[in-house]
Symmetry: C2
Subunit: 153 residues, 2 copies
């Protein structure tokens, strides 16, 4: 479950949108600058997140992006699954992207049984964390600041 650069950028962007949820849209350019992400690349990523239903966009002069669903309704597992495919280390233990492997009998494959545990461990963490949780962590980690804009994501 190596997270690609693309995936990390997506998480960071969604976290920015989460922190700004309720206060209108955020421009690509601002996210790119704040998070030091190549702007064109981020466009591509946000577009992808849009067609996947994670974010909404508004065009034109005062345009930008915002979360489509409430931050609490978006789990990291969902996001990463969409961007990177299976969370499981091997296809034969993936629930959402199952792919049979070449074992003669999956039910009796020792390696598979370990990978099953790995998958469960990964999913256990990522299903349990939403964008809202991420936002909470930002506040917890940085302590009480005066200005919300001071938060470093």
């Amino acid at each position: 479950m190596k997270l690609s650069q693309r995936g990390e950028y997506a998480l960071r962007a969604l976290l920015v949108l989460g922190m700004n949820h309720g206060s209108g849209v955020v421009r690509i350019r601002d996210i790119a600058q704040q998070q030091n992400i190549p702007r064109r690349f981020l466009e591509q990523i946000l577009n992808d997140l849009k067609s996947a239903g994670f974010v909404l966009s508004k065009r034109g002069v005062a345009g930008g992006y915002r979360l489509q669903r409430a931050p609490g309704e978006i789990s990291l597992a969902d996001i990463i699954r969409h961007l990177e495919g299976p969370l499981a280390p091997v296809g034969c233990v993936s629930v959402n992207y199952y792919q049979r492997c070449s074992c003669p009998d999956e039910g009796k494959c020792a390696i598979r049984s370990v990978m099953q545990e790995v998958r469960d461990a990964i999913v256990g963490v990522l299903e349990g964390v939403s964008v809202a949780h991420l936002c909470d962590r930002v506040c917890d980690l940085q302590g009480p600041l005066e200005n919300p804009l001071d938060y470093i994501i």
Copy 2:
């Protein structure tokens, strides 16, 4: 931590060697046939495992491979780390392959703190399972068979 084909082949090969530990060497060809792994590719992999100190080889007519250390001393974490690099989903939470990321302050990065948990979850499973454990699982999963050679790995 997506396991590559190469990585999966390596685990399967080591499991075969684990099951045959103590009874001499096993030929590449036999492993390849039994596990349905391309023979040439497996050669490459075993060679790699050899220079990493996981296995020993014997050349010539009655040649083949065997584990270098006891099966109980080889954890899946070690194997996978050697073959695939970091177990952590991002470099900035990897203990063995740490790499700084572009966050302004890692200690206060919310995404990092989640990835830390993911890493710990993965490592927790893989450090706890050795080749010997894998062999045990093979037996557990397949029930008591008459002939050890009947075990399907």
